[in-house]
Symmetry: D3
Subunit: 131 residues, 6 copies
Amino acid sequence: MATLGLLDDASAGPDALAVFDDIRAVRGNDYVNNFWRALAHDPALLEAIWSRLKQVMAPGALDPLVKEMVYVAVSVANGCEYCIHSHTAAAKAKGMTEAQHAELLAVIGMASQTNALATALGVEVDARFKV
Amino acid sequence: MATLGLLDDASAGPDALAVFDDIRAVRGNDYVNNFWRALAHDPALLEAIWSRLKQVMAPGALDPLVKEMVYVAVSVANGCEYCIHSHTAAAKAKGMTEAQHAELLAVIGMASQTNALATALGVEVDARFKV
Amino acid sequence: MATLGLLDDASAGPDALAVFDDIRAVRGNDYVNNFWRALAHDPALLEAIWSRLKQVMAPGALDPLVKEMVYVAVSVANGCEYCIHSHTAAAKAKGMTEAQHAELLAVIGMASQTNALATALGVEVDARFKV
Amino acid sequence: MATLGLLDDASAGPDALAVFDDIRAVRGNDYVNNFWRALAHDPALLEAIWSRLKQVMAPGALDPLVKEMVYVAVSVANGCEYCIHSHTAAAKAKGMTEAQHAELLAVIGMASQTNALATALGVEVDARFKV
Amino acid sequence: MATLGLLDDASAGPDALAVFDDIRAVRGNDYVNNFWRALAHDPALLEAIWSRLKQVMAPGALDPLVKEMVYVAVSVANGCEYCIHSHTAAAKAKGMTEAQHAELLAVIGMASQTNALATALGVEVDARFKV
Amino acid sequence: MATLGLLDDASAGPDALAVFDDIRAVRGNDYVNNFWRALAHDPALLEAIWSRLKQVMAPGALDPLVKEMVYVAVSVANGCEYCIHSHTAAAKAKGMTEAQHAELLAVIGMASQTNALATALGVEVDARFKV
């Protein structure tokens, strides 16, 4: 269903291949998922996205698992089926339990509902919530 | 800018007032924010949303602060200005540091970008990401 | 906050003015709301949108009030503050009661929640729901 | 394509099964659709969503068919393929005619267009549309 | 996966067929794509959409290729898989090069990211950007 | 209405100030708009976004004006009021005429409408549109 198709290692140029190799090294396994193989048609974009993602998702003030759950939440609200699947899998790989997944889903559902209600009601932001 | 207006304590009916009181009790302060005062036009909806929210946002397998950050993430992706402000304030009240806020924003931005790219490319979900 | 500004009757060209007059005639009152005054910078677009809207919102197999409520629902999900306000007002003008408004909001909130959950879960469409 | 998979009656726990049975009783047929079977991994969430949905979609100030059409409209704007299919089917089951379906689609399309235009133009809400 | 199914030439009524023929004539080839075959269940809607699309996408102050790229951008942000595919194909047919496609994707990704950040930060519009 | 507030030159740290200076140099004027002043609370994010934006929006296979119009289109579909205003202003600064603006709006409106219709109809992607 792709608009550009996926590049395997043999068809990817050297710049794209270098990114694939870094993905493998960082993740400690051999699999390069379809998103990167689709982006590889434009090695400059591939490199820019991957190097930024590595930085953003690295451990910091927030735990990598928390970051993955935030990523899933954004992906659900944006309706990105691919990203929901890949980041739900990533969250599980980083230790998300079934109970955590269930609560994540409940919060996403709840937020989506009150987002719609606040928008429908045109609620004005409370002065105390503004900086 | 509201489509229904806000009800103060004097104008709210007894059922709405009971919810206002519970909001005050649970939060340990006197302030009832505008969202609830707009919802109060329909006390049944007010009660249903509040009682569910209380449950969903309570401590559980996920920390309440993590839940607030997920809530902010969904609200940003849904473009709900009110919810972004109220839940950013709630996250700060629950201890979100500036560094955590900054990383939250970076993840939201990154996810929004790759959501768009994966969607634009029509990337097929990898078999290993499906259950 | 507009990107183009609003044209009053004096600044609107003859083609835009003709549309303004038709809006007044169809609605039976003198007020031309801001949306049309912003669109009037491009009289061809103004005319195309207005003439199509007139047709689509006319009584037919669905009641005009039902159409207004559907319009509000779409506008909420798309986060269009202007449209939420103008079509909520239009629905009230067409007889939407407070009780109907409350139920409309409850359905919009509920749908937004289950939309997010079905998307997050990646639920496959049941064979019987497909044509 | 699910992130959690579907539970049949044999794999669902007793709490989930009780909800399945109530779904069957309320609808007067034996079929439990995939959404509920995916939610069944978290019986508490399943129960909360189902019991609320039952209430919200029940006859009231708005006709159940009107509610289903509003549900479809929100689902389209949110891009939820599953919900579009299941609630379009539900609307047909509740008597939506082809002519009503056609008008529903026309209103959804029109609203989406003017939502985008009002947003692009940054049209300010008319004073008379505010409460 | 359709909610209405596709009409081939034999099943389409005379009004729908007339639109199909105009689509063929305008495009100079025999293929009528699925979108029009699904819309054909409501010949009036089909005709309204097609005749407006023809006008909007015609050469004017903007090049048809630029219009197609804008169309793709909107479709990505709205998450319309069908439209992304059909308008990416249309853009290629109108001469979009691989380099142009790559830059289009990069801009869409970048805009999606800064959209989310500006929304998350609640940035107030600069006075100089308002008309 | 900001969640973080805006930093003027005096309050910005040296890293943020360096980015402000580069923004001024690249644009050839003294004004630093609010988006960058809000981002400046996190100089690393500010730097990452600005340096990437500079690259993505530079002249290339696509004209900078075309890129700005694509940026506006995405921002409208995502409902980012700030971005719509700032990039509409940027497009005008790069030479967008009134006629081009009008056509841009018409395409955005049209795309939003057919996006909704294709989604509502669940139209399957034509085999010939897939790679």
